[in-house]
């Protein structure tokens, strides 16, 4: 158990933290750049294994009473004229997933019935239809654009908010971290060729939320330390902030990861991509809030002056007033602390 009441920091000597995170910031940046380059290369070279949501086409999930023979199913399908169909197990040996690419001029979704009929005729057992998804190619295209737009607009919104609340260089730091996290997560999906479907897109958007949360918490501390710590270079101040927040960062990442692992192992096959993306995103996001976000802001030359409260009062802006109130509170508290020292 930690006894927290005894250590009192000397006001003259600032403790910049036990772990010197910032010491390895250049190797970390190089490491990140390599990862990102590998991801971009993977996306370009291998491409994403896009799900039916994006490509259009048909997905049919079936359950056989006993283990299903994939070779036989492929033969039956080829006989029915679907020789390009992808057939794979889904979850267990009894469950089968069939993917059929979109066909030119296929006006209605009668295909699933045809496939079902063909397989049922060939099999003596009763096949249970678990799920059919048919998406026309043009809907898939729309979804891809909409998804990309959603991410873009989210980034712009965040950029503006962080620039208003902090400073534009922090904003760029936060965006750099987000781009980093998303690129690497997508890169992993490209390299492993795991299916990238709509739920994975939702997960990417959640990663934006999570990674941002992490980054903002660190930035908030950096800003506070710039205002309260008298000595120290920007690098030292950032380092202190990272150390201050380390307990919190690890704790939050741990609880989130635990929940995600529960989702991954118990949530069922359909949610696997979603859980995988989020697990990768949380790990990468935690790392990037330490290295990518702060390093970017520092490299862009954030200094103490940038974050001191503005001299002139902006009464029309509620946010600024809040800041002033907060500063007044901190000052009052500092004075009171001094008094306490004196009375001792």
């Amino acid at each position: 158990m930690t006894d927290t009441t005894q250590t009192i920091a000397s006001p003259n000597q600032t403790d910049f933290g036990k772990i010197n995170f910032m010491k390895i910031r250049y190797p970390a940046v190089i490491f990140s750049l390599i990862l990102m380059a590998a991801s971009v290369f993977g996306i370009w070279y291998k491409g994403l294994n896009l799900g039916v949501d994006f490509t259009g086409g048909t997905i049919i999930e079936l359950t056989y009473p006993q283990g299903a023979d994939l070779t036989l199913i492929r033969q039956d399908l080829a006989q029915a004229g679907y020789d390009e169909a992808q057939v794979q197990h889904f979850g267990s040996s009894r469950e089968v997933l069939i993917r059929i690419a979109p066909r030119e001029g296929m006006a209605s979704a009668t295909l699933s019935n045809e496939v079902m009929d063909a397989l049922q005729k060939a099999s003596s057992d009763t096949i249970e239809l678990r799920r059919v998804e048919f998406v026309g190619p043009q809907v898939g295209e729309e979804l891809t654009t909409d998804g990309a737009l959603a991410v873009l607009y989210a980034l712009i919104g965040i950029l503006i908010y962080v620039a208003l609340r902090f400073e534009f260089r922090f904003s760029l730091g936060a965006i750099a971290a987000l781009v980093h996290d998303i690129t690497i997560t997508v890169g992993i999906f490209a390299w492993t060729q795991m299916q990238f479907d709509l739920t994975v897109l939702a997960a990417l958007l959640a990663i934006i939320g999570y990674s941002l949360n992490d980054t903002i918490v660190v930035f908030d501390r950096v800003r506070e330390n710039f205002r309260t710590v008298r000595d120290g270079t920007p690098v030292e101040v950032s380092n202190k902030a990272l150390n201050d927040m380390l307990g919190r960062t690890l704790m939050t990442s741990l609880t989130t990861l635990l929940v995600l692992v529960a989702l991954f192992t118990l949530g069922g096959e359909i949610i696997h991509g979603f859980a995988t993306a989020l697990i990768v995103g949380v790990v990468v996001g935690t790392y990037s809030s330490i290295y990518v976000a702060s390093t970017t802001a520092l490299a862009l030359g954030v200094s103490k002056q940038d974050l001191m409260p503005p001299v002139k009062k902006q009464t029309e802006n509620g946010e600024e007033e809040d800041d002033d109130l907060k500063r007044a509170f901190l000052e009052a508290e500092a004075k009171r602390k001094q008094k306490d020292e004196e009375t001792k």
């Binding site: 927290t4 009441t5 920091a9 999930e61 359950t63 006006a107 209605s108 979704a109 699933s112 239809l129 059919v132 998804e133 048919f134 026309g136 043009q138 809907v139 979804l143 909409d146 998804g147 607009y153 989210a154 919104g157 965040i158 609340r165 709509l198 739920t199 897109l201 939702a202 958007l205 959640a206 939320g209 999570y210 941002l212 949360n213 903002i216 918490v217 908030d220 201050d244 307990g247 919190r248 704790m251 741990l254 609880t255 989130t256 990861l257 635990l258 929940v259 995600l260 529960a262 989702l263 192992t265 118990l266 949530g267 069922g268 359909i270 949610i271 989020l278 508290e333 602390k337 306490d340």
Partner: protein, 627 residues
């Protein structure tokens, strides 16, 4: 030391904050509760025509059920339709059979799962969360309306009208062409062109942009639909198709179908519980049409019914209520000619009427017929072809069944062409129905299914079970970790976390937002991330304890962490709101739960835990915090 501090920081909440919190807890528990009661197997009986059910119907249903030896749990009537709950699926299915047999085509009988929420809770507006198709099973269709065809149809109508207009005005023209969204009339002479231009411009100023042009020595008048007319045409096509789909889906007897517009040209159809997609598609593609026929006034209807002998130029029909009527064999106009039908009130007589618009070919035929038959009656026949599964020689076979009903027979008072009114309708409700039927026959523009998703009931149940399991396991793990790491404060955070989960469920139930599998994932993620606010506060308190007394540390911990929590959550909220506005389907479901989760977790983590901390430690001489 504590004496001097008490005046500086106060860790005490005013009474109103506790009241807000208690209210939130009570409301949260109340509105989350309906989810615990499960569902009753039920059948839903709705009338084929509005306002058809009355007290006698109730007796009829009760009698039918008791004859079959069935005892319903509850029989509810909301003025429109009946909901009969049963204790088990077996009696539900049997009741479905007997009721269907008793009512035939007078009523639409649908199998339903009705929430078993107690009455007092329902009176307070308590309803369980609405489950998405991925959780309850069913079919989802996304239909795309061919808007180009709708716009072209509008041009074709003007095409016909313009020919008639020019002929009547005796302006000579060579041809009327339609190409590239432009109607062009070729005139023989520039003079005729100018006359034509003046006439067309006067007649269609509000609907068409009329220009006169000279191309390669030809004298042309070109017309394009004004943007407002195009927009209206598209809007009308979409609404018309939705109406038609709704009518057809009623035939399916699906409980709680969803038929919604999505974007400017798409329609979403969701049929919960339907597994037979083939049948669903058949019904959606069912056709209904109309015919206008003259009534055979000379023959004796009663005799025809009695003897079965029908005059050779006539056919025996029935009104919807079963009254017989003899109609002439020749059809004046069929449903394809009907462009529009609107119900309204006759300005002179104040009685309900339906205004019908025909295309010009239909108008010409109507004119010729009405000119010769003033004083006679004209009937509107509604023809519908459906596919039904019937038993034949012990085997279930699908058959196309065509039904023909006379919906109206009115006296022709004057000669008319492509626009006319059907009067002599007893109520405005009936006029609305007639207009609906006239319009409902055909689709305003062709549609195709661009997306189809079917989820089997077993998969839906698996999704619920697995989703629920992962929420529970994840949640318990988080509770254990928090209790281990932050001791008493951890337990306080756990209470807040539980309240958070209750509030999310309550808000989702209250909003009747659709819970989907990604929505469950959103809840799971919220649970994981919701601890962040408390972790921030507790870590801050620990930190403050190094430099100041316990009471100051608690106060400063909450105050200083607040700004951080607000900044972090507002940015996440921005992302969630963007997702909600741009996302579709599962992304939207995820964004809703995430948004609700962020807001409730901020409330419970900041206000909720503070209240408990204040009660336990606030302004008390505490030596040490269990944190």
């Amino acid at each position: 030391m504590f004496e001097s501090q008490r005046s500086l920081v106060s860790n005490r909440f005013p009474m109103w904050k506790y009241l807000v919190l208690i209210t939130a807890v009570v409301l949260g528990l109340t509105y989350a509760m309906p989810n615990l009661f499960g569902e009753d197997p039920a059948i839903q009986i709705s009338p084929a025509q509005v306002g058809q059910f009355n007290q006698q119907t109730t007796e009829r249903i009760e009698q039918t059920l008791s004859q079959a030896g069935l005892v319903p749990k509850v029989l509810e009537f909301d003025g429109q339709q009946y909901l009969i709950r049963f204790d088990d699926v077996e009696s539900q299915l049997r009741a479905n059979d007997v009721i269907r047999e008793e009512f035939g085509r007078q009523a639409i009988v649908a199998l339903n799962l009705a929430p078993a929420t107690p009455n007092w809770l329902r009176a307070l507006g308590g309803q369980p969360m609405y489950l998405g198709l991925d959780l309850r099973g069913g079919v989802h269709f996304l239909m795309d309306v061919d808007m180009d065809a709708a716009v072209e149809g509008a041009y074709r109508r003007f095409d016909d009208e313009i020919r008639v207009l020019l002929r009547d005005a005796r302006i000579r023209y060579q041809a009327v062409d339609y190409a590239n969204e432009t109607l062009s009339v070729v005139f023989r002479t520039p003079d005729a062109r100018d006359q034509g231009f003046n006439l067309l411009n006067r007649e269609y100023r509000n609907e068409l942009e009329v220009r006169s042009v000279d191309v390669e020595g030809q004298s042309l008048v070109e017309m394009r639909l004004s943007s407002s007319v195009i927009a209206e045409t598209k809007k009308f096509a979409l609404q018309q198709n939705i109406t038609t789909l709704r009518n057809r889906i009623n035939e399916l007897g699906v409980a709680e179908p969803i038929i919604q517009q999505q974007g400017e040209r798409r329609i979403v159809v969701q049929l919960p519980g339907v597994q037979d997609t083939a049948r669903a598609k058949e019904i959606l593609g069912a056709t209904a049409t109309l015919e206008f026929r003259l009534v055979d006034e000379r023959a004796d209807v009663d005799r025809a019914v009695r003897t079965g002998v029908v005059p050779s130029n006539a056919q025996l029909y029935q009104f919807r209520d079963g009254r017989p009527i003899l109609l002439q064999r020749s059809i004046i106009v069929s449903g394809e000619s009907v462009i529009n039908a609107q119900s309204g009130i006759d300005a002179q007589q104040g009685s309900p009427q339906v205004s019908v618009t025909l295309d010009s070919a239909g108008g010409r035929r109507m004119l010729a017929t009405t000119r010769d038959n003033i004083g006679n009656r004209m009937a509107v026949v509604f023809i519908e072809s459906r596919i039904e599964t019937v038993e034949r020689d012990g085997e279930l076979v699908r058959e196309r069944i065509v039904t023909r009903d006379v919906i109206n027979a009115a006296v022709i008072r004057d000669q008319f062409a492509n626009r006319f009114q059907i009067t002599g309708i007893s109520s405005s409700q009936e006029a609305q129905n007639l207009a609906l039927l006239l319009r409902a026959g055909a689709l305003a523009a062709p549609m195709e299914i661009v997306e189809e998703r079917t989820v089997g009931p077993s998969l839906g149940q698996d999704n619920i079970d697995q989703g629920l399991m992962s929420v529970i396991v994840g949640f318990v793990l988080v509770l254990i970790i928090m209790a281990w790491r932050y001791k008493t404060f951890g337990m306080i955070a756990n209470i807040a976390l539980t309240l958070n989960l209750v509030l999310i469920v309550a808000v989702l139930s209250l909003m009747q937002a659709t819970l989907t599998l990604p929505g469950i994932a959103g809840i799971v993620l919220t649970v994981g991330m919701a601890v962040d606010a408390n972790v921030l506060i507790f870590e801050r308190i620990k930190e403050e304890l190094k430099n100041s007394s316990i009471q100051t540390a608690i106060h400063a911990g909450y105050e200083k962490a607040f700004i951080t929590i607000a900044d972090a959550n507002i940015t996440t909220l921005i992302a969630a709101i963007v997702l909600f506005s741009f996302g579709t389907g599962p992304i939207k479901g995820f964004a809703i739960t995430l948004t609700i989760g962020i807001i409730t977790s901020m409330f419970t983590a900041i206000v909720g835990t503070r209240a408990l901390v204040n009660m336990l430690y606030g302004n008390k001489p505490v030596k040490k915090l269990s944190i």
